[in-house]
Amino acid sequence: MTPEELVRDPLYQINLILWMTTPSRDVGIEPVFHRAGFDVFQIEGEVRLPLRLAANLKEKKIEASVVVVPDVLLRGRQKEYLIVECKAALFGPGDGGAQRQARALLLQTAGVLTESLSLQGGAIASTHVLYLTAHDPRHDQMTALTTLDTELRACGAATAPVGLLALKIADKTVVIEATALPPSLQTYARNGLLAIQTLLANDTDPRPLYRIAWMPGSEKQQDSYNQEQFAKRVLASAAMQVAKARLYKSKALKIQIEPILDEATSGFFRKWKKREETKIVRARAMEILRIQLGKVRQALPSSDGQAIEIYIPDRATQEDIVEKLRDWSTSDYPVDVQQQLFHAANSGDTNSRQRFLPKQARNNKSPDSDTK
C-alpha cells in the first residue's frame, strides 16, 4: 500500500488520531492533540440529538440522525471538546446517511453535547467538529461541510464550528492541510499545515503500531497488513489462554472466542458485538484458530459456538500448541483464507460444528472422549 493509499484507510486514520493524542517524543508521529492539551474522552461513543431539536428539524424537512457514533471525542484542558470523524472520502450530494450523520454532529453545540453525554451544566465550554479525510485536490472538500452548516443555521439551529483535516503526502511527510482549526490547535499549524508523520525510506511501510486492530467498516479495505496484524493478535490472545491454562486429564480445554476478540480489539469487541460485521470477524477468527491449533491436535468448535475445544494431555503438548500459534505466517497459510478474513460473502455459521471439520474428523470421537 502506498502512503497515498494509506491515508485513505480508516484503520490508519483512527490509529493516527490516537497517536496524535499520546504523550511521546520522537516516535515518528507528532502528538499535536496531546501538546494542545487534548485527551481521549470517548472512542466510538454515542452522541444524541435532543428529541425536541430532531422533531423541529423534521418539520422543516431536514433530516438528521438522532443517534450518531463519531470516531473519537477529545477533551481539552479548557473544557473544549473536539468531535473527530474519520472518512476515506468526504460525502457528496445523494450521500444521505453520511449527511444525516454530519448534521447531527454539527448540531453538537456545548449545551447539546452536555445533555447528550449526561454531564453537569457547564462541564463543556465549547465544541468543535473536525472531519479527517484524505486530501482530494479535485474538490473543495470544505464546501460539503459548510453547505450543511449554512442549511442548519438558515433553519435557526445553532451549530458547532466545523473544520477539516485533509491528509496528504508532502516531502516524505504525512501532513494535514487544516481548515478552520479550533484556536488551541492553530498555533501548531504552519501555513495551514500540520506536519504529522515522518516517512522512512521508500521501501518501508510507514504504518505505526496499531492500537485498534479492527473496527466495523475497516474490513472493506482489503489490506494484507490489516489482516495479518489482526490475525496475529487473535493468535497471541489464544496463546495467552493456552499457556496459562491448567490441564485436566478428563477435560478438554475450552478456548473462549469472546475474550480473544476482546483482547485483539483492545476491548472494543464487547461494544461492537451487536453489529453485523462482528459475525464475520468472529467466524474468521474461529477458523484461523481451528486451522492453526489443528496442526498439533484436533480442535473443534464447542456446541454453543463460543469456544474451540482442544484436549491437551501434558505440558509438552501445551508448549507445542503455544509455539504453533506463533508460527503463523502469510507464506504457509492459504492465501484465500487470508483474503477472506473479513469477507462478508464467506462468513459462516459459527454454531455449525460439523462445518469446521475435515471429512475424516467428522467421524472421529470428540477429543475428550478418548481421555476418560
Binding site: 522512512l200 518501508t204 497471541a236
Partner: protein, 360 residues
Amino acid sequence: MKSYLLEDPACASERDFPGIFRQAGHEIYRIDDTLYKVRDRGTKQYVGFVERLLPRHPVIYSHADARSMDAWVKRLVNSSPHLDHLWISGHAFERLLDWNFEHKPLHRYGRLVFQHSSVFEAETPTEQASIESDVEEPEDSDDYVPERRTTRFTMVDRLSVLREKLPTMRDIYAPLHVIAQLRFPAAGSGGHDFYFNGKATNRSGSFGDHRAHVKFVLETYRNAVNKTETEAWRTEETAFNVTGAPVRLRFHDALAQETFDTFIDATFRRKVNRFGLWGDPIRLGPAKVHVYALDRHMWQQLFLEITREQILVLIPRGTCGNSIHRLVTNVQQYLDPAVEVRIGDQPYREFVNVPTGATP
C-alpha cells in the same frame, strides 16, 4: 544467605498463593501471616522460607548453595506464569547508586559489577544469542570466544571515589552504564549485594539489616513499576486499552543491519530467547518490524515496533510494568548499554525514585 526478590503481579490471595508453588511441584507451609516454609517435593528437602514482604512481592530466603538455589528459583519462575524475577536495569541501578552516595557514609566501600555482551554481533551469533542468561557466567574457560564486545568486571572502591570517577568513566566507555550488581554498605561491616535479576546476597552479620535493605529495594522497584503502569496504561478502568503512552528505547548508535536481523531472528524465531518474548514479526521494510508479542514469563501482551534506531513498546492495560523493566535490562545487557529510554515524554530514570519516607 541469599534472598530472591520475586513479583506476583496478580497478587494471589492467601488461598491461591500456595497453589503457585504447588503447580511448580513444591509445597509451602504457613508459619505466620506472611511467612511460609518451602519444601521441594522432588528432593523432599526444605529449601528455605518465603515471605510476602510486600503484597505483590514474595521473597525467598535460603541458606542453600548459591548455584543450586539459583537454578531452583529460575526453574520455579520459568514454570509459573504467576511469578517473575525483579528486573533491575543498569539505569535503575544508577539511581540506587545515587541514593547510596547521598545516604551512606562516603568512606564506606561500594562494590559494582558491570556486565554487557553484544551477543547479537557475534560471527555465528544465532545460537549464542538465543540462550537465556544465567545470573553468573563462568569467568574463564577454554572455549572459543567470538569477537564481539563483552564486558564483565568488578569495581570496589570507596563511595566517594566512585561518585567522583564514575561519570567521567561512563562518558568514555558505555558498558559502564550497565551495572548488573550493586552493594549497599550494611549498617555494620560488610554489605548487601543486589543483582539485576532480583537476587540479593547478605554479606553482613545481620539478617534484620539485610531484610530492611531488601524491603527498601522492593519499595523503590514497586514505586517504579506503579509509575510505569500509570503512564503506559493511562486509562481509567474502562474497557479500552488504546491510549497508553509508548515506551521508547532509542539506541545510542543505530544497530548495524546484520545485528538488527540477528536480534529479530534470535528473539522471535526461537522458543528460548534472552528477551523472553513470543511473537511473529511482520516485516514493514528491511529494518522495520511490528510484533504483536507476548511476554513469555507472564504471558501478557506487548506491542513492539523495532527499527535499527529504536524499539517502541505499547503495553495494554493489564500487562505488568515489570515487562518494561525486563526489556530495558536486557537491551542494556545485550544490545546497547547506553540506550536512552523514555516512557511517554518523560525520561525513564525519573520513574526510578526512592519513595518518600523509604529507608533501609
